[in-house]
Symmetry: C2
Subunit: 236 residues, 2 copies
């Protein structure tokens, strides 16, 4: 939300709508645009330097992804967050992602394995240097983490299941960034990822699905502890 200078947001987009969409989305996911914030057009125009119609289209897209809410004739707001919402989100994502993983392991071929190992490797690299500068690396970590989870379910033949997963996974990024930034609750994400990877490569469907489910649930547990102990607000 602050206007301090940071590195120019690198957004390779062909249309202005796309660029605005990606930048605003990023600002919402990082919390730079805080949950519940009213999104006035004058403010947005000054901030992102595009016209009203262009902004409107970008915001409409974000409404479709439930990152923004809109009320007829009353404009747009950053979608609120709450621990209850994250609990619901986590359970739903678990249902979808575990089923997708199950199918992916069954259908996955050598190419899938290769992509998976590659994604894990790249994720590991950024996980190593994550403790040094948590904030700086977060964008890269999120990207690698998303790619790894995508690679896990890449061989799932259901486009719709993967589409549902994409929506839910992006939603949870808002909460994940909060949970990962704070380091009060200790957690070894790398080991969790490694365990899932090995089970998947070993084609141990049940084990992989159980580990993946627990891995997904883990972030909720961390956030629950944070809310309980540190009185983390988590309100809109």
């Amino acid at each position: 939300m602050d206007g301090t200078a940071r590195g120019p947001k690198v957004v390779a987009a062909r249309s202005l709508v796309e660029a605005a969409y990606e930048t605003i989305r990023h600002d919402i996911l990082t919390g730079d645009l805080a949950p519940g914030t009213k999104l006035r057009f004058e403010m947005l125009r000054a901030r992102y330097g595009v016209g009203a119609s262009t902004l409107r289209e970008a915001l409409t897209r974000l409404v479709g992804e439930a990152l923004v809410t809109s009320e007829e004739q009353r404009g747009f707001r950053v979608a609120p967050i709450s621990i209850e919402d994250f609990a619901d989100l986590t359970r739903t994502r678990r249902l979808i992602e575990v089923e997708a993983l199950r199918q992916s392991i069954v259908f996955g071929d050598d190419l899938w394995e290769a992509g998976l190992v590659a994604a894990f490797h790249r994720l590991s690299k950024v996980e190593e240097k994550l403790p040094d500068a948590p904030e700086r690396q977060q964008d890269e970590f999120e990207e690698r983490n998303r790619d790894f989870h995508r690679a896990l379910i890449a061989a799932c033949p259901s486009r719709w299941l993967k589409h549902m997963h994409a929506i839910l996974f992006q939603q949870s990024e808002r909460y994940r960034r909060i949970a990962l930034c704070d380091r009060t609750v200790p957690r070894d994400v790398h080991t969790e990822h490694k365990a899932v990877l090995e089970a998947a490569l070993a084609r141990d469907v049940d084990l992989a699905c159980r580990l993946e489910g627990e891995h997904i649930e883990r972030t909720l547990e961390v956030l629950n502890e944070l809310v309980a102990s540190k009185a983390l607000p988590l309100r809109s």
Copy 2:
């Protein structure tokens, strides 16, 4: 797709974007705008009588619901349909809807039961007179059918599960309208609905979920037969 005059589409919407969105969505769901159709702005402006930016916003919303596709700098198209897509859609919807129903039956109270019975009653009324004039009644049937399926899972406490369901259910409406219009394959939808209702009211979770799953799958079977026998194209 034709420009012939038909009854004025009754759309109670506060904003023009909303009105355009609902009208276009309806035209896509009914097939009035055929799958794969290029959506040029001049054509849409003439047809729906709103400006380019307004249309753009309405279309963007439809892209979010996967009823329209967009390619950067190349405009919008009505999303294609295929029997493979419907098979995938059906399986995914079954996973979601059955899980939502399971939770709904567990959590449902008297008010839920009342709403369910009411929705079933209204659906029955339109199911009775459906054979007389299949085309005329289809809009009303779709609305009542949607309300009934919504009522079934209304007591499910997960907002996300219900959100996922809404997306998938709307998608399947396109295919359902095709399957229900054609009457070559006999089917007693009313009896299927009644069986699910009774199992749900009896709180027989497993039976209700099994019946609901079969009910969902049934439309796919019908459409599969249609494609096989009558050489129904089902391509974009």
